[in-house]
């Protein structure tokens, strides 16, 4: 059985971490734009967000290309032993479980302040309020999940 070289494993490990950081950035950007479009589609910020919604896919493509470049001509092949070792790694799975539990609690606890914010402070009509609640819950949950995973998984 051929064993992967440690340098290659380290490179893929760093790539995996960078990808999570990129995903965090994308989630925050999408959540912010989505929420702005739901809460204030006609306002000045809403118009800026409308422009951003066209720029985000371009940004994602550039981000993915930049991440690929950081791999130095290697490929992220899910069937390769080094990628399997990263994906099945116990420390990674432990950290992901811890982050998932914490993100679930944060998303649940945040419901009351979010409902207060969107229900009373922004005076949104009920359908838009539901959309804002959903978008903010998803953004908050995913942001917490990825950020906590990166925190627990640090060196």
């Amino acid at each position: 059985m051929s064993q992967p070289a440690p340098a290659q494993s380290e490179l893929l490990l760093r790539f995996s971490r960078r990808s999570m950081m990129a995903m965090l950035f994308v989630v925050i950007a999408l959540g912010a734009v989505g929420l702005t479009l739901i809460v204030s589609p006609e306002g000045a910020v809403g118009k800026q967000a409308n422009l951003m919604s066209w720029l985000i896919p371009v940004g994602i493509v550039i981000l993915v290309a930049a991440l690929q470049t950081s791999l130095h001509r290697q490929r992220w092949d899910p069937r390769s032993p080094e990628v399997k070792a990263i994906m099945r790694d116990e420390w990674r799975q432990t950290n992901m479980n811890r982050a998932t539990r914490a993100a679930m609690i944060v998303a649940l606890v945040a419901q009351w302040p979010l409902a207060l914010t969107f229900g009373f402070l922004t005076k949104l009509p009920p359908p838009r309020m539901a959309m804002a609640m959903a978008a903010s819950t998803m953004t908050l949950g995913l942001t917490t999940l990825i950020a906590l995973f990166l925190f627990f998984d640090r060196e």
Binding site: P4, P6, S9, P81, K84, W91, R92
Partner: protein
């Protein structure tokens, strides 16, 4: 619970002149897992403990030891 899992992984690794990355490679995990076990941040599963023991050519009990009160 008063029991604590102690390990001699660092010593065993040093005796074989193995790096964390080298041992991780042999056990099929990442260097971070080996580091987390060595520093006591992670309690490995039975499967991983067995894999590490096999990679080092020793028994699990040689690496891992339960310290504390016995019931």
């Amino acid at each position: 619970m008063d029991e604590t899992l102690r390990n001699t992984l660092k010593v065993q690794r040093a005796m074989r002149d193995l790096t964390q990355a080298g041992l991780a490679e042999m056990a099929g995990v990442t260097r971070r897992s080996v580091n987390a076990i060595e520093t006591g941040h992670m309690i490995p599963s039975v499967l991983l403990a067995l894999k590490i023991a096999r990679a080092l050519g020793v028994t699990v009990e040689t690496i891992f030891r339960l310290d504390g009160k016995e019931s």
